[in-house]
């Protein structure tokens, strides 16, 4: 597109490289949470490159090795130092960890070689991240808990006039959890216009397609009825994502339903039923790498 703004082009390039980086890690491990990184690449990179006011990372470019779980008075390693100290970012489905790590690499908050340690024993770049993992504010592998934590932080920031907005990326499978609706109800009740939620509606959960497991739609109408400002966008279009996320109405929390294709840019995976955790079949890695141009492009 000739008149595309420079930032949009850049975000799309970031997103493409996020997919490539995720593909390399999953190829090395013969599988992984690949489609999570693929489907959410534009959402994640738009958040980091364009939307969130994070402030500089204070985390090392090469993360320290795992140094123990939190203890009272000793939080030990904390993943949120990679997200600065202004806005806060809650990644609810921690299975998206690889996409987050790759995004942090794209943003220069992690070294481009660290993904070689993804999923390695003793590394904080864990398969399903916890709060010692770079970019993680809290521990969210048990789904649908992060939104409530985000509501709590947004609530005290609004009540006590503290600066900094709260962002949350959630997934459509989590709309099945009752806690999600409790959180949506409370955010509207407290008029949290400092809370912006982006939903990656990729239609995928462990047993297959969300619509086959449990009917959760129409999500936009339901969320709007709960009192949120709701916009539905193409989740691969950075400009639409950004415009919707900036459409904040005073006294209302903001919700953006991002419709995404879990195998965006990876047509060779078309027709596969099991997408939540991909175990590559013989020959499949080569097809995926060809789709994404992984082999042709230099290791950047």
């Amino acid at each position: 597109m000739a008149d595309e703004e420079v930032w949009v082009t850049q975000v799309k390039e970031h997103a493409h490289r996020v997919r490539q980086r995720a593909a390399r890690v999953c190829a090395a491990n013969h599988g992984g949470y690949f489609i999570q990184a693929c489907g959410s690449a534009e959402i994640m990179t738009t958040l980091y490159a364009q939307l969130m006011d994070l402030g500089p990372s204070t985390g090392p470019l090469f993360p320290n090795d795992f140094d123990g779980v939190p203890r009272p008075g000793a939080p030990a390693l904390v993943g949120d130092i990679y997200n600065g100290d202004r806005d806060r970012f809650y990644l609810s489905p921690a299975h998206y960890a690889l996409g987050l790590y790759a995004t942090l690499v794209e943003m220069g908050r992690l070294d481009h070689n660290v993904l070689d340690w993804a999923n390695a024993d003793g590394s904080t770049l864990e398969l399903i991240g916890a709060e010692h993992s770079p970019g993680f504010e809290t521990t969210t592998g048990s789904l649908a808990q992060a939104l409530s934590v985000a509501v709590g932080q947004a609530l005290v920031r609004k009540r006590f006039n503290r600066p900094g907005r709260i962002w949350a990326l959630i997934s459509d499978g989590e709309m099945e959890e009752g806690q999600t609706w409790e959180a949506l109800q409370s955010a509207a009740n407290f008029e949290l216009d400092n809370l912006i939620v982006l939903l990656d509606a990729n239609g995928v959960q462990v047993d297959g397609w969300v619509e086959d497991v449990m009917k959760t739609e129409p999500i936009p109408e339901k969320v709007a009825a709960f009192g949120w400002t709701m916009t539905e966008v193409d989740g691969h279009d950075p400009r639409s994502i950004a415009e919707a996320a900036r459409n904040v109405v005073k006294g209302k929390p903001t919700f953006v339903v991002c419709r995404t294709n879990p195998i965006h840019s990876v047509p060779s995976l078309q027709g596969r039923h099991q997408l939540h955790y991909i175990r590559f079949r013989p020959g499949e890695v080569e097809l995926v790498e060809t789709d994404l141009g992984v082999l042709k492009e230099a290791h950047t």
Binding site: P70, T138, T139, S142, S148, V149, A150, G152, Q153, Q179
Partner: protein, 340 residues
């Protein structure tokens, strides 16, 4: 003997000692917030709400979300308190407490009222497993107060304690048994004796004080320690007496598995000690509604049950028939009218 209760001694009661102490404590600590699930006055937070409306948050009946909200508040530097009934403070949002609060070791205070069988509300309202559930969580400290003095002083006692805390609490009219503040991680020595050592917690201590008083009057060299810190359970003075005792009787208003009897038996087994343990507590059963005296008798945690345990411990009959009187069900019970 002044630390024990003679049978006829009338107790003095205090009204809402915790609720008033919570307001006073929060006046000095501006990082304290109060979050409720539709049980504000029921859990003595109404005075806080009236005094500090800007620090009070009603989250409605949605405990999973409420628990995450506590975590978010703590992550922004506040110290949120969640007063509720023990069942709703612990079991209902258990997974959220584990992952959102206990794992990151956040400074959150969960306060559980209606301990054990002190409520007529039946199985849904009786917290009989709350201590077990909270003790199971790494990073979590667990305390239960025994009287009005402890209810009024516990917040100061744990002020500098980092990480999440579960406080098991009495409400309303609470007897005054002690004259000194609660001390974190310290047992309260009420009597010293070599023949049998009684360890009690919560409301059981009042009964244990009467039983031990009577036992000593009949010549039994009985000791009594009130336990308020259940996790960690590591007071050297308490452990030394358990080790030295021939037999220990524990008394708790909670299921036997996962509470006081369990931490004592763990200590005995892991210490390789020869101390015998006779536990008084709720056996492996769900419970039902009724008056407190009826329930304590029916489920075997009454004063008479403690007395029988002491008799078993010393191997002889020491109490008159009075204490053997069966608890009777009451047709009308003031506690039934108490709001749930």
């Amino acid at each position: 003997m002044s630390n024990l209760l003679a049978p006829a001694r009338d107790l003095t009661y205090e009204t809402k000692p915790y609720g008033r102490a919570f307001t006073a404590y929060s006046s000095d600590h501006t990082d304290v917030l109060c979050v409720t699930n539709d049980l504000t006055a029921s859990c003595e937070a109404d005075e806080f709400r009236a005094t500090f409306p800007e620090r009070y948050f009603s989250l409605g009946m949605a405990e999973q979300n409420l628990t995450g909200v506590l975590a978010g508040m703590a992550r922004d530097g506040f110290r949120p308190f969640y007063p509720s009934f023990g069942v709703f403070a612990t079991r209902r949002p258990y997974e959220q407490i584990a992952m959102s609060i206990a794992y990151p070791a956040l400074d959150v205070r969960l306060v559980g009222f209606l301990p054990g069988l002190t409520t007529p509300g039946g199985v849904t309202h009786q917290a009989t497993d709350d201590i077990a559930l909270m003790s199971q969580l790494p990073n979590m400290s667990v305390l239960e107060v025994g009287d009005a003095t402890e209810a009024a002083t516990v917040l100061d006692a744990i002020d500098s304690l980092r990480g999440p805390v579960y406080l098991r609490m009495l409400r309303g009219e609470v007897p005054i048994l002690f004259d000194s503040p609660l001390q974190f991680r310290k047992g309260r020595q009420l009597a010293t004796g070599a023949e049998v050592l009684v360890l009690s917690s919560g409301v059981m201590t009042e009964s244990a004080m009467r039983v031990v008083h009577k036992a000593r009057e009949t010549g039994v060299d009985a000791g009594l320690i009130h336990i308020s810190t259940l996790k960690p359970f590591d007071d050297p003075a308490v452990l030394a007496q358990i080790k030295a005792a021939a037999v220990v009787v524990t008394a708790e208003n909670h299921l036997l598995r996962g509470g006081l009897a369990t931490v004592v038996s763990d200590a005995i087994a892991q210490g390789g000690w020869s101390t015998r343990l006779i536990p008084v507590g709720i056996k492996d059963t769900f419970t039902h509604g009724g008056g407190k005296d009826y329930l304590f008798g029916y489920y075997g945690i009454s004063e008479a049950d403690i007395a029988r345990a002491v008799e078993r411990a010393v191997g002889r009959s020491i109490f008159e028939h009075v204490i053997r009187t069966e608890a009777h069900s009451q047709r009308h019970n003031a506690s039934v009218a108490e709001g749930l």
